[in-house]
Amino acid sequence: MGYHCIVCVKQVPDTANITGEAMKADGTVNREALPAVFNPEDLHALEAALRVRDQYGGEVTAVTMGPMGASEVLRECLYRGADRAILVSDRRAAGSDTLATSYILSQAVRKLGDYDFVFCGRQAIDGDTAQVGPQMAEKLGLPQVTYFEEVVDLTDRTVRIRRNVGNGWEVLEAQLPLLVTALDTANEPRPPSAKRVMRYKRARVEAEVSREVASAMPDAAAEQREVELGKRLEHLRMKGLLTEQWNLDDLDADLQWCGISGSPTKVHRIQSIVLTKEGYTEVPPTEEGIRGLVHELIVDHTLG
């Protein structure tokens, strides 16, 4: 028996380490200049799911939505112990805001069927919205527990969870299935296991294999590539290294609610924050200089 935990993870640009080169002159973000990382709080969501499985049995399925390259975070999930991984990838999902994203991910969760927990990180560092988790919960008709820190008790279908609400904490009791968003204070994510890295570093989604074939056989005819692709996919499948890749049709998604048409919010304008050296009064670090500054602050009633 045990519990089936679905974890939603995201590959994000590392916004915490943005340098000048990462911003283009027109104020938009130069994504290529940014390293892509596993969204930090999603690692804590994954760890929470793995702990439920390790303690009570069951399995962990990792799901991400993004371009082909996002399969890297799925490999990271497999390295850490996820049993199964799924990439949801479709050009028609581009431009999705949080509402459309939550719709698409909730369709993926529906397709997975039987589940007990959906774990998400509280928020992703590229948008910091914290909206996708609660919006998925609503779409799935699940109760939500945000700001998860700890499973206090899990007995049969009833779970007690401690959540951090900023100025304190509370314990909620809910019936499964349930959606949970995890904080970075919830746990210490385990490192990748060396054994699993050796095994899963060759895990691929179909799109990756297709690209590898194209670059390995640049001069081959389309049919030849097709044959090679089929061979490689079959090989991976037999080894349990073919990561599932779903598109919007696989999810039975209503396209009206996906991508730009499913997104009520639109970006009107973007301004980059440019360092403007407007000039400040330089105060020499001497006793005299600092005394002058303090005097000035007292005179204009800033101090005292």
């Binding site: 609503e138 924050i273 500054l293 303090v294």
Partner: protein, 342 residues
């Protein structure tokens, strides 16, 4: 979702806990008033609780025309589902054009749930709100008098203005402390409308078992002066310089994320995008390099003094006074100057 409704009110979710309103609710009432005046409509506030009706006067004093009060024993403490039910029912019934929530842990739990059920747009963590027009790039159609939802994105490296022209209400959560809290007018008149609400078993299925609240020991938002330390302070021992200077000027102690992550001081002191947004009369940044995430949380301070040994630290770009030097020498000199004044 509701169709665009130009006569709709501008609403605020009046977050309250244990019988007192959260400051951000009052800040938003003032902002809602401004927006509503620009649009020529009224303002409303949704006040839910088991015993919260007496808080309506404060909302009215801050500019609210109609307070929609929902009193129910199940609303004593916040839980997502019954509160979401309240908001969705009232939004469907009264069709406001704008609904604002504080970007508090509670508001950020509730607003997305409501937006999803309404299939309406929601912008998180706004730092600015305005009314303006939008021309759709494809159709060239002009949408007038929309809510401009202004927020930092990409870790604070860009400022985005977001709009929602077709699936209303236009919803946003707004950061605490960024809208000015105006002096209330206790003589202002407003209406309190009682709304009845019933909940089904599913909505009440999540139970609150235990609840613990901590008193805010650090009140950065209310502080008139703040002395903040960053990673450049170096060690927990040297953070004493920050405490000493704060003590000498009667200020609160703040910190950058680097200082908090480095274990120099507790998270409750953190200023910046993931901490508290402050706008004191004086902000003294010591050993803070000034990452954009930090600057976003303090650059509205009336006066900023930056003390840093690196003359190229970005913090100087928002400073009014800059002292290039070692804070271990500069701060004692400053304390001496303050104590020896007059």
């Amino acid at each position: 979702m509701i169709e665009p409704n130009r006569d709709g009110e501008v609403w605020v979710f009046a977050e309250q806990e244990d019988g007192s309103l959260n400051d951000v609710a009052l800040e938003l009432c003032g902002k809602a008033r401004e927006l509503a005046d620009q649009l020529g409509v009224s303002t409303g506030a949704v006040l839910a609780g088991s015993n919260a009706r007496n808080l309506a006067d404060q909302l009215i004093a801050q500019g609210t025309d109609r307070v929609y009060h929902v009193g129910h024993p199940e609303l004593e403490h916040y839980r997502t589902l019954p509160y979401a039910r309240v908001m969705c029912r009232l939004v469907t019934k009264h069709r406001p054009q704008i609904v604002l929530f504080g970007a508090t842990p509670l508001g950020r739990d509730l607003a997305p749930r409501v937006a999803s059920e309404m299939r309406a747009g929601l912008t998180a963590d706004c730092t600015g709100l305005d009314i303006g027009d939008y021309v759709e790039p494809k159709t060239k159609e002009t949408h007038r008098n929309l809510l401009l939802q202004i927020r930092p994105a990409f870790g604070g490296n860009i400022i985005a203005t977001i709009i929602n022209f077709d699936r209303w209400p236009q919803m946003a959560t707004v950061r605490e402390g960024v809208m000015r809290l105006a002096e209330g007018n206790p003589k202002r008149r407003g209406e309190v409308i009682e709304e009845q609400m019933e909940f089904d078993d599913l909505e009440l299925a999540v139970r609150l078992i235990e609840r613990h609240r901590e008193k805010r020991l650090v009140n950065l938002k209310a502080a008139r002066t703040i002395v903040a330390g960053g990673g450049g302070v170096g060690s927990k021992d040297d953070f004493k310089y920050i405490h000493d200077l704060a003590g000498a000027i009667g200020g609160a102690v703040g910190a950058s994320r680097a200082a908090v992550d480095g274990g120099l001081i507790g998270k409750e002191h953190q200023v910046g995008q993931t901490g508290t947004t402050v706008r004191p009369a004086l902000y003294i940044a010591c050993g803070i390099s000034g990452a954009v995430q930090h600057r976003a949380g303090m650059e509205e301070s009336a006066k900023i003094i930056a003390i840093n040994s690196d003359p190229n630290a970005p913090i100087f770009s928002v400073a009014h006074y800059g002292i290039v030097g070692d804070l271990r020498k500069v701060i004692p000199t400053m304390i001496k100057a303050i104590k020896g004044r007059e």
